[in-house]
Symmetry: D2
Subunit: 341 residues, 4 copies
């Protein structure tokens, strides 16, 4: 059975497992003060071209979103996000549990927050004389790629940054699948650009070849985020496990290579499905593809490929999500396409 159901249901890249195995027998400094973590952070700072960046390694995405937002917001502030944003939908209210409202905005079909919509919201907000009785926008949350496979352009990010400057908002980018964004042939967003534009963003490990782990990159030094991390249950006792994974991911371009593998497979799938006349909703340049398959096509793939049904339609067709990853092979994609012929 070929598995395109998701990108976080399999262990880690062999390089990481090897590093883990090699390190298994020697004591390490705890709580992230180990050499692996130091090296990983140095490599990330170098990759982001920001020697002053403050890097922290956390375990998972929801935890990271909540810990970062709780640290960068003041109590009366909320965070703006697309209505389809992960923090708005699928984190069981983790952000609200820290006391902050998620303020949702409409987004495009890719789940991207448009600069125009953001600006319109902010203008409307401050034009309303009752705004002091409302939750103040304090930060903007975007995911790149989005939950729907959308990718921001550098121009869009620059415009979001400009709006954030204008309205004293912090810009926070959730990069749970960042490897697939960076490896996508389409957009022009790079790590150094993120390091310059975002107050804070993170480099996803869990979905991009690691067992677990997200590397949070603050543009500037945070005096107390270590304590904040501990307080939110987001500090790993054996932090070197995260350190050695990110050290490996940022050695010899592995992170990008893993991303490229996922994206290449996704694009190979996209091309193949396109050739078969399959429509997409929407089409994506990331590792997630959202084709609409007919009942007959669905039947052909049954028992052969695992993927998520997102929306069953009256005529038996369905909008599905096919998610490739660093682990997917071209041969698997070809087998999927062959099954459809």
């Amino acid at each position: 059975m070929i598995d395109l159901s998701c990108d976080y249901n399999i262990g880690c890249a062999p390089e990481l497992l090897a590093a883990l195995s090699a390190a298994n027998d020697a004591p390490q400094a705890t709580y992230g003060f180990d050499g692996f973590s130091a090296r990983a952070k140095d490599k990330i700072r170098a990759a982001a071209e920001n020697p002053g960046a403050d890097v922290y390694l956390l375990v998972g995405g929801t935890q990271t979103n909540a810990a970062v937002l709780a640290a960068i917001l003041r109590p009366w502030e909320g965070v703006l996000a697309a209505a389809s944003g992960h923090i708005a939908v699928h984190e069981s209210g983790a952000v609200e549990a820290t006391g902050h409202k998620v303020l949702t905005l409409g987004a495009d079909e890719y789940g991207r927050l448009s600069p125009a919509a953001l600006r319109a919201y902010l203008r409307g907000f401050y034009a309303d004389p009752t705004y002091p009785h409302m939750v103040r926008p304090g930060a903007v949350y975007i995911s790149h790629p989005t939950e729907l496979g959308g990718l921001y352009t550098a121009a869009a990010l620059r415009e979001l940054r400009a709006i954030c400057d204008e309205y004293s908002l912090r810009l926070f980018l959730d990069g749970a699948r960042l490897a697939y964004a960076l490896a996508s042939p389409g957009p022009d967003v790079t790590l150094p650009l993120l390091g310059r534009l975002c107050d804070v963003f993170y480099i996803g490990g869990t979905k991009c070849g690691a067992l677990c782990g997200e590397a949070v990159v603050f543009r500037e030094k945070q005096p107390c985020f270590f304590s904040a991390q501990k307080q939110r249950g987001a500090l790993m006792a054996k932090g070197f496990l995260l350190g050695l994974q990110f050290d490996a991911l940022f050695t010899d371009g592995l992170y990008l290579r893993l991303g490229r593998q996922g994206v290449d497979c996704a694009l190979r799938l996209r091309e193949g499905l396109r050739a078969l006349g399959v429509p997409f909703a929407p089409e994506s340049a990331s590792n997630q593809q959202f084709p609409v398959l007919t009942a007959e096509q669905l039947e052909k793939l049954r028992e052969k490929v695992r993927f998520e049904i997102w929306e069953r339609r009256a005529d038996g067709s369905a909008l599905v999500r096919m998610c490739s990853s660093w682990h997917t092979t071209a041969a698997e994609i070809d087998a999927v396409l062959a099954a459809l012929k």
Copy 2:
């Protein structure tokens, strides 16, 4: 350099690494719905002799304490703990961050909450007519072993349970180092006893041979703890990583064996130090020993053994913590003792 500095600074038991490596290539159900997790939970239910127990796998201790307490307390309730309890001191206010006060009580030299002190507090609390203006005690938190190597007796736990019943308190036991308590020759506390007496307790993995992971055991079914876990950032996307570790730990008695290794080393150390006339403060039957070493002895161990200095004294002596673990060997202990001769 022999390392007795702590029990969470090294990878995992070989059995766990083997299981991890073996499982690395196959997709698994996510969020803990995988077969490893199901087997691990079954084995834990069996070990606790409670088929109705509800078991959840979380990543680390602070996260577990906060997630569990937030779930079992009502907003106006606090949790009673020894003043030296981990939640009261070393979790950066994780419990308070969920809105609950940690109500501290004096404890004995082992950091154990005495039933008498608990009862006295509760009597005093409800005798004070202003108590509705105070934080209501809603749960009792104990750690076993304690942070100071203390071990509860079955009789003490039964008495704590009785008090909890009398005052409608939930009993929560932090078993971050539970393997070392269960393996200690001294006390008579078993998993089935904990399963009967505690509303909820956890079986520590991080300090007892796993890379990470704590298995929370609720005496009764919890309808929404999965969502609570997610909300607190304590749900691992690749939950099978926790599942396969606990599956291995509860196969063929590994968990107890690892605990015994740590405790045997600690007792071997204790006997050796005793024979050298070294005093303890306090003496412990767990994997943590707290000898008071002279300046000369400290010098002898310098560059040979790593351990924590807890309290330097005026005469150059120091109260130290020597912490053995599943990874420590009798040969290492013998080398420590030899260095002191």
Copy 3:
């Protein structure tokens, strides 16, 4: 200048001021344990025809909404509300500050949550297999009248109650302007009905003739709400000030009389404006009227009547809110209408 700008910008009904003055010199029991409060609660229980109701007196609406919701929700639960609901818009995130998400639903033009929309949401929620990753609906919040002058019918409330029973939700009704709802000639909702259908509702004082105060009525005994009230800063030291006001409000039908005065004025205004051909958006049977006035009409009222402009339109017309209250007189309404002729 005639003031129709809002219903909480003037002191209290003369009966309340008299009671306050009369009581000013004698010591009272504190924190609501005084005789006035006891009598007020008895009268409210009688009016709600529920001898077992548990009544608490709080200071203001936002505080009441947050304190009640924090008490009736579990940490992983959110509260469903109309997107235009007060807790969703104009309370600066007070509910989120207690850790709970406000889950918003579309509403009708009156800001009323329709039973059909509620049921559709709940069906959709539990049909989505990812729902354990989402915020669980734990309560339904409605306001009666709504922020837009809407009034629920008894039938609609009964249906909402049935849905709440089906989905284990608590039903919470914000009655900040309840006097005007009870006094409205239209709908058939009475205090006893609210006492039967709502898990908890409140009888607004601040907007209905009191200096301040909201009387919260729980259908069943709450063992710790006093402490919850204290914890949320919602317990008045001189609680007798609230007690004596509600005692007066529930003596000789004053509360309803004050409500009727506000509604009668509003309906007189509505009839007069209708006669002048003024359109409404929407028309209301409560004390708030939402006429759309032409530029010429707006000019005629300038310097004579104070009211809120809600939406200025391109042609110079505007949707306005005219809010009468227990303090408004028929003569004032007639003067407004005369000014428009």
Copy 4:
């Protein structure tokens, strides 16, 4: 029956009731944007000799403590307070409900935090290498007078301020009974001094002659405290009710006059009791006196005077609290003393 049971069980000073009655019929701007509030704030700024002070009017003490602390602390910070401090004991965990730990220190018999103890704590805290795992001290809370009738000296406050500067702590003074401190003949603490030394303090109304209300004085402008106030349920819709009370309190020296009346009565009582050989525990220069009465003396006062029994002793004697206020008369004190003769 003479009432010395507490200072918040009676209405308000006649001047305030008169102001309230006079204002009862005219509409006012809402939420504190009225003329009374503006005047009250101006007068308070003048009295504190800080034209840049930012003044807010809240309803009660617990609410004020929680709202202020939540606004001035960062999530990982706690507040240092005497173990007997009101926020540590009698506010049902209001501060913890906002996510912050109350870090308690020992205090003197008057419940005063000593600069030496504070400094020792802070030195110890930062000397402990595990401090990043602990709650960071972010603010110091003191009450003046304390809950036990203690009064700080200007020298002590200056020293606390210096320590706060050294350790980047905010200094917050709870002045729920401030009138009695300012009017006490003993200490040299004035409003301008508080305005200079405290980041924020408040001028208590509830216990000092008002129906309700506390005036919070921030040394510097707070851009969003209005929203914070709303969020914590601490913004009164009819804020002019607070404004007119503080306007009256700060007109013609009323606030100090009311304070002096309370203190004069307390000192008259103290002198009288001293003359009768009654011991104190401790003796106070504020409006609260803590004599130890014999069984016989207690009997003599039964049915004549109401006061609080704080601690019954084996020999039938008791430590009691006798609390005078702005409302107490010299004649009442004389009657109490006469009853004891």
